[in-house]
Amino acid sequence: MTQVMTHEERTALRDSVRRLLADRCAEADVRRLMDTDTGHDAALWRALADLGVAGMLVGEAHGGSGLGPVELELVMEEIGAALSSAPMISTAIAAKLLDGDRARALAAGELIVAVAPLGAWDWTGQSAVRISNGRAQGVARFTPDGQIADLALLAGEDGVYAVERAAFTATPLPVFDRTRRLADLHIDGPVERICDGSRVAGALAVGLVALAGDQAGGARRVLDFTVEYARERRQFGRAIGSFQAIKHMAADLLLEAESATSAARHAAAQLAGDGADREVALALAGFACADAYVRCAKDGVQMHGGIAFTWEHPAHLYLRRARSGAQLFGDSRHWRERFIQALEARS
């Protein structure tokens, strides 16, 4: 049973996450994590679990809050805005696939689960895992949070299989966006079939909505601090934001950022309500949010000028995150194709 929050409750949830991240996931924290091996802040993850965020999609029966995509998306906007590396997307997907004690551990923030979509769901096009007779062997590529996972889930059309830590090796990848870690999972060992394939599409849709929220939040944040800079920075005796070149870029980016937010929230609402436009809405979020974020981050760097060409300035961290999100779960080209397929199916 999915719980439905009132507007006020949602705002309160969002604010509590925002406050926590402002406190514990400031730019300095992000940079510190970028230089660590795992990129993971276990203390922050516990704090997020304490807020109920890790288990927000886990049913109340298993110690979660039983919330839905709408609340997830809202939280993800904050995660994205703060460039947090918290394993939220993986956790949200896993919440839709796990039951029992594992779900309970997930909700408590005690179990970190990496999800590897296989077969038709394999957005990397490079994963190859053979499952038979209760054993799996092969590699699942570019798996988010694989480097810190206690458990891996292999999600294919014919079922979902749990792989315990002992049965896989995670090779952390040298990622361009150090705020979103990926690993190749080399799997060789016993697996446990935990549910059939029918739950996969829904679970991955939750992941897509989570990513869309991350992108919408990131786009908005990079726009916000860029606009703030444009108000303050003076050249030629004027704030640079008074020049049309800058002002008009900002206006165009506002359209992008607002559109990303609309797309992400619409997809969340459609997924929550199992609306008729679900596939259309998901596919739309799949590219509109990615494209908007990349553009906001790209133009954000340009609008800052030289200062944003330095490592010390945060703008490029958003650009890196925007670029990584634009590949994760399929690129914009892929989702535009899915979008038009969904439109064709509808017409």
Partner: protein
């Protein structure tokens, strides 16, 4: 009154009165549905949020929407004018106590044709640079000047006019706002031929026309403020409306239409076309979602920055849809005329897109407005802002 009681009352009233009415064909001019509209007005449904004194019922927004829903279900027009009737809202807010009772009821019933007399050849983006003059005379004003981009002036009874009444004040401060009677000697309306080869607009040459005293809206010299509320109103309506193909039916199904055209052209399996078509439809959808979200947020009392983005978004959509339609048609797009409706649509759209990207404030002006009013970016220094207008024009 409870919501249920209200609903019952409206439903009953509609059941008793609504028998259908001729459709409205033009945005401007006298409304053919005037008889019905007068009935709606007299029953208090035309503008249910307004006070009873002004034909309303003083309903909350939520209850007014119940009325609107009942009318919508019945397919009956005429309610919700407190949100949608530019003329009536402007008059209610700013007309003189003498003029208001004369004009407001007629506006609610669509009994008078209206037009806008704002832009001039020398004052487009820079509307405050108007040079049409209104000089004080016995019993009113005498007006002389030239206005452009006027819709429906040839069938209008009144024009909402801005004219300069004080030449020694800075440009924004010497302007007044009037309801000018159009049917008089001294007002000469000529059609303006558009790039689409249509004539939906007029030029209006005004030569010593007369405006009675009571037709001044707001204060003398306070016209810029009145104008701003009227313009903000227009903009919020404009972003909402798709302005593409000629046919209203097509507009309503813009997405399906483009997909269908691609299929008809045998290009729906072309990967490049698929990407392009998807992107245009996506932008259209995002714009609708933005608008819907903006309205919802306004409903929740959150301030929304999205409303003003609609017109800018629509401008990109229309230009790009023109490009994609042309791409789909290939050589067929070289043609025009009634025998080639698909080409006609593609070409019309490609040109008429400027109606949105130029009309009612260019995209460039729109970006200024968004940058300054929504994002709070500083204005550009304006060299002529605080100078007496007579000095500004003398300096040219």
């Amino acid at each position: 009154m409870t919501d249920e009681e209200l609903k019952a009352e409206v439903t009953a009233w509609l059941a008793a009165n609504w028998r259908g009415a001729p459709p409205r064909t033009e945005r401007f001019g006298r409304d053919p549905r005037a008889e019905w509209l007068a009935k709606v007005r007299d029953a208090g449904w035309a503008a249910p949020r307004w006070p009873a004194q002004w034909y309303g019922r003083g309903l909350s927004d939520a209850q007014a929407r119940i009325v609107e829903n009942c009318f919508a279900e019945a397919g009956a027009p005429g309610t919700g004018q407190d949100r949608s009737n530019l003329w009536a809202n402007t008059a209610l807010a700013h007309a003189s106590e003498t003029f208001k009772p004369q004009i407001v009821p007629k506006l609610l019933a669509g009994e008078v044709g209206m037009c806008l007399l704002y832009s001039e050849p020398g004052a487009g983006s820079d509307l405050a640079a108007i040079r049409t003059r209104a000089d004080r005379v016995e019993g009113g004003w005498r007006v002389t000047g030239q206005k452009v981009w006027t819709s429906g002036a040839h069938i209008a009874d009144y024009g909402m006019l801005i004219a300069r009444t004080d030449w020694s004040a800075p440009k924004h401060k010497g302007i007044s706002f009037f309801f000018m009677p159009m049917r008089q000697k001294g007002v000469d309306v000529r059609p303006l031929r558009q790039i689409t080869d249509e004539s939906h607009f007029n030029e209006v040459f005004i030569d010593d026309a007369f405006i009675p005293e009571e037709n001044l809206l707001g204060n003398l010299g306070g016209g810029w403020g009145v104008l701003q509320t009227a313009l903000a109103y227009e903009r919020s309506v404009m972003g909402d409306a798709a302005r593409g193909a000629r046919s209203g039916a097509k507009e309503a199904h813009g997405d399906a239409a483009l997909l269908e055209l691609a299929r008809e052209a045998g290009k729906l399996s072309d990967p490049v076309v698929r990407q392009d078509v998807a992107q245009v439809i996506a932008w259209r959808m995002l714009n609708s979602l933005n608008t819907r979200r903006a309205k919802a947020e306004l409903g929740q009392g959150t301030s929304s920055s999205i409303m003003s983005l609609g017109k800018l978004a629509m401008s990109r959509i229309l230009h790009e849809e023109g490009r994609v339609r042309t791409e789909l048609l290939g050589p067929e797009s070289l043609l025009q005329g009634p025998d080639h409706p698909r080409a006609e649509d593609a070409n019309f759209l490609s040109l008429n897109a400027y109606f949105t990207s130029i009309g009612g404030g260019t995209d460039q002006i729109q970006r200024n407005i968004i940058g300054e009013r929504v994002l709070d970016l500083p204005r550009e220094p304006e060299v002529d802002r605080d100078v007496a207008f007579s000095t500004v024009i003398a300096g040219r």
